[in-house]
């Protein structure tokens, strides 16, 4: 046809791509994790409550758990704390905490003051374990299934909405199926 229509055609195509880009943009700040669908990283770290004891990923196999990365220096973690307490009270999935690059004494005091939603807390002083999980900002929460596979990752403060819409259905679905 008219080859001068090519620029217009190309532009309209671009507009479509940009429109899709806008639609996806709320998720832009969040990078998709390559860990989803793959086995959770192995770790063996000292526990916060008793540094002589080790928290091992191997021990956690066989049941669902939520792996929550936090620190006392992180404002968003303080904001999500009430939600974590609610999750603990619901008693459906245990919370395993990873205290990321933090001060042990301050962390213990924080949990004493605000309440401890975690079944157990592992201490990552060097930051190496967090890197294995692909953590780039606290708080981050991973849902791991009984086979040790990461099924979901949430970046940012956990909300009631995320719990109800993303985490609970995944846990319940498998329970209902089996």
């Amino acid at each position: 046809m008219n080859r001068f229509l090519l620029p217009l055609g190309a532009f309209l195509l671009l507009a479509v791509v940009l429109a899709i880009g806008i639609k996806h943009s709320p998720e832009k700040g969040v990078i998709a994790s390559p860990l989803v669908g793959r086995p959770a990283p192995q770790f063996s770290l000292p526990a916060l409550s008793d540094p002589a004891r080790q928290v091992r990923s191997a021990d956690l196999k066989g049941h669902w758990y939520l792996f929550n990365v936090w620190g006392t220096w992180c404002a968003e973690c303080r904001a999500e704390h009430p939600v974590l307490l609610k999750v603990q009270r619901a008693g459906i999935v245990p919370l395993i905490g990873l205290d990321w690059k933090d001060d042990n004494a301050q962390a213990r005091e924080w949990l004493a003051q605000l309440g401890n939603p975690y079944e157990t807390v592992a201490v990552d002083a060097s930051g190496r374990a967090a890197i294995e999980w692909g953590v780039y900002g606290a708080p981050e929460t991973f849902l791991v299934n009984p086979q040790g596979i990461v099924v979901y990752k949430h970046v940012g403060a956990l909300t009631d909405d995320t719990w109800a819409r993303e985490i609970l259905p995944r846990v319940s679905a498998v329970a209902a199926g089996s």
């Binding site: 008219n2 620029p7 217009l8 532009f11 791509v17 880009g21 639609k23 943009s25 832009k28």
Partner: protein, 651 residues
């Protein structure tokens, strides 16, 4: 009171822009003289209203009116007056107002200069500019009103981002935007020509000075931004291929092609549809840049706060504006055939290659910048693109261009007669190769193949550019401004190539840890650390280090890098100390306190990096010189006579 006045002024400006657009375009199509006569008052009125709005916002900043949300977000009572004014364009809403202000000023300039244009054509040009103004004003009022009030007013402001508290903020955005917005004029000229269904050499002659001036401003604006990043961010980088930088670079590349294409259309009536398309493309890329920065579709250190709502609005605006222009193009371009010819070795050929290569370069940057978006939309997963992609791919189109530049300068119009310049070409190439390789291998030992290649190309371009002016001088001929401008601009290109080559090949960078009185040797220089002291400023406090720089035993400079913490936003910034010595840029940045009086420091030696920005300014100067050539301004009487002959009322 004043903010409401400002808001009201913007609404009036919106209405006036609508009138300007309507009277301009409809008036010209219907040949209604009274309507066309109403355009200029509308332009003036809109400019006055926009100016009023800007003045109101400045007043709010200066008087610390924290009941205005925008002021509360971007200012603070401790902020020095200078930054209180420049904070006007420190964030999204205010920078949009700056856009609109500059567009109004450009429109006024065009209106003043429209005296020598035929009435219908001028009305159309101003009308199209009115459409653009209308779109931006509507966008601002609907989604980004800077006059929104805060109730109750904030006790104090959140302060301007410390990185922006710098003289660079005063100049970079205004100059850059002047360039960006200036391409709207070329766009308007193009649309007017398409609406009229006629595009000839005269049209090109009118469009050229406007486009060249806009291009000069954009060149300066980009250079200023790069220079600002260099000394403000302090790690010696001056170009990161960041999406927002690319958003300004793409229009620049296409704008350069446009400037050259206009020359061919002016001279020989050729490349009409090319020139038309480039004019549309340059402004479209400016608009696309605006979109990318404000819509949140791309991640960048540079972008304003993201908001999908704004993104949708700008996208709709883009579709209407650019879609409309491209539809006009599809309709009118087929009629623009010309029967002129030229041969392979002719100047037209080289300008054709120039156009093609610049567009390819722009397309490559485009692909890389939008790759994450495209990959995401096509479901190909997340993709991330940075300098390791842009650097090699940009060179792929630039190296041929730079090589052809030296040859093309000697080509004549229509029949190249390159055979006549064969000897000159050969001599200049050999001289360049000798000088270039000598520079690369001798003065700065090392650098390898790329260094020698870059230096040779740069010197060759310089020599080739000087051949014609020297020849004219020898023959006692005058040197028209247009030729002088072209020569200066091309010399700027040559300098840029040489500077980039040396910076890439010979930069030295090292991080060192020093105790008081400790010293480190980097390159040819010795850096002796003399300790830190506390420093205090109007709205910050911090520590400053003193470092003595020595070379071959004698003192060369004293550098004082600082680390500052701004009180309000509590952001820590590093102020790099920079000094020049014998063409080398020495940068020193203060790192961390390692305890026991030891501090870490980053030392960089960058040879000839200042020449990069000097080269850019020389290019811009060349453009300005060329645009001021008399033949664009003279023969007004002749043009009026021609317009009269056509039965058109010239103003």
């Amino acid at each position: 009171m004043l903010p409401e006045l400002g808001h009201f002024a913007l609404i009036l400006a919106l209405l006036l822009a609508a009138l300007q657009a309507f009277f301009g375009i409809a008036g010209a199509s219907a040949s209604r003289e009274r309507w066309m006569a109403a355009v200029i008052p509308a332009v003036a009125g809109q400019a006055v209203m926009v100016g009023t709005a800007v003045a109101c916002l400045i007043a709010a900043f200066v008087s610390d009116d924290f009941s205005v949300n925008y002021v509360a977000e971007n200012s603070n009572s401790a902020l020095p007056l200078f930054y209180r004014v420049t904070a006007l364009w420190g964030a999204h809403e205010g920078s949009l107002l700056l856009w609109i202000l500059l567009l109004a000023l450009w429109t006024v300039a065009v209106a003043i200069g429209s005296g020598r244009l035929p009435a219908r054509f001028a009305a159309r040009v101003l009308g199209v500019l009115g459409v653009v103004s209308f779109g931006f004003l509507l966008f601002t009022l609907a989604t980004s009103n800077p006059f929104v009030r805060l109730d109750p007013p904030a006790p104090d402001g959140r302060d301007l981002n410390p990185i922006l508290q710098d003289p660079g903020l005063a100049v970079h955005p205004p100059v850059l935007y002047t360039g960006y917005v200036g391409f709207a004029v070329a766009f308007a000229f193009a649309c007017a020509a398409m609406l009229e269904g006629r595009l000839d050499q005269q049209w090109a002659r009118w469009t050229r000075p406007w486009t060249t001036v806009a291009w000069s401003f954009l060149t300066c604006g980009i250079a200023l931004g790069s220079f600002w990043a260099y000394y403000e961010l302090g790690w010696g980088g001056f170009w990161f291929w960041d999406p927002v930088e690319n958003a300004s670079f793409m229009p620049w590349l296409v704008g350069t092609a446009l400037v050259h294409s206009l020359a061919v259309t002016d001279k020989r009536g050729l490349f009409k549809s090319w020139t038309l398309l480039l004019a549309i493309l340059a402004f479209s890329l400016s608009m696309l840049g605006t979109f990318l920065v404000r819509s949140g579709v791309l991640v960048s250190v540079h972008s304003f706060a993201a908001d999908p709502m704004r993104g949708i609005f700008i996208l709709a605006f883009l579709v209407v504006m650019i879609g409309g222009a491209l539809t006009l193009y599809a309709w009118r371009a087929p009629l623009l055939k010309s029967a002129a010819g030229f041969e392979l070795g002719a100047r037209e050929s080289f300008l054709l290659f120039n156009n093609v290569l610049l567009v390819i370069a722009a397309a490559t940057v485009f692909a890389g910048t939008l790759a994450p978006l495209i990959s995401d939309a096509l479901g190909l997963g997340t993709l991330s693109v940075g300098p390791p992609y842009f650097n090699p791919t940009f060179l792929v189109s630039m190296l041929p261009l730079l090589a052809l530049l030296s040859v093309g300068i000697h080509a004549n119009w229509k029949r190249g007669r390159l055979k006549d310049s064969e000897r000159t070409l050969l001599l200049s190439f050999v001289a360049a190769a000798v000088l270039g390789c000598g520079l690369a291998l001798g003065v700065w030992a090392g650098g390898g193949l790329l260094g020698a290649l870059g230096a040779t190309l740069g010197v060759w371009i310089a020599l080739s550019s000087l051949v014609d002016p020297i020849d004219r001088w020898r023959r006692g001929l005058s040197l028209p401004r247009a030729v002088l401008g072209m020569t200066v601009a091309h010399l700027g290109v040559a300098l840029m190539v040489v500077a980039l080559t040396t910076v890439q090949s010979f930069t030295v960078e090292r991080d060192v840890a020093l105790a008081a009185d400790g010293s480190a040797r980097v390159g040819d220089y010795e850096f002796r650390f003399a300790g830190v002291q506390p420093v205090e400023g109007p709205n910050y406090s911090g520590v400053g280090a003193t470092v003595v720089v020595m070379r071959h035993g004698s003192q060369v400079a004293v550098l004082r890098p600082q680390k500052r913490q701004y009180w309000v936003q509590r952001q820590v910034t590093s102020e790099t100390a920079i000094t020049m010595h014998r063409g080398n840029n020495l940068l020193l940045a203060l790192g961390d306190d390692l305890g026991a009086g030891r501090w870490s420091l980053r030392v960089q030696i960058r040879p000839l990096v200042s020449l990069v920005w000097l080269a850019a300014f020389i290019m811009a100067l060349g453009g300005a010189l060329a645009a001021s050539d008399r033949r664009y301004h003279v023969a007004q009487a002749a043009q009026r006579a021609a317009a009269d002959a056509l039965g058109e009322p010239a103003r």
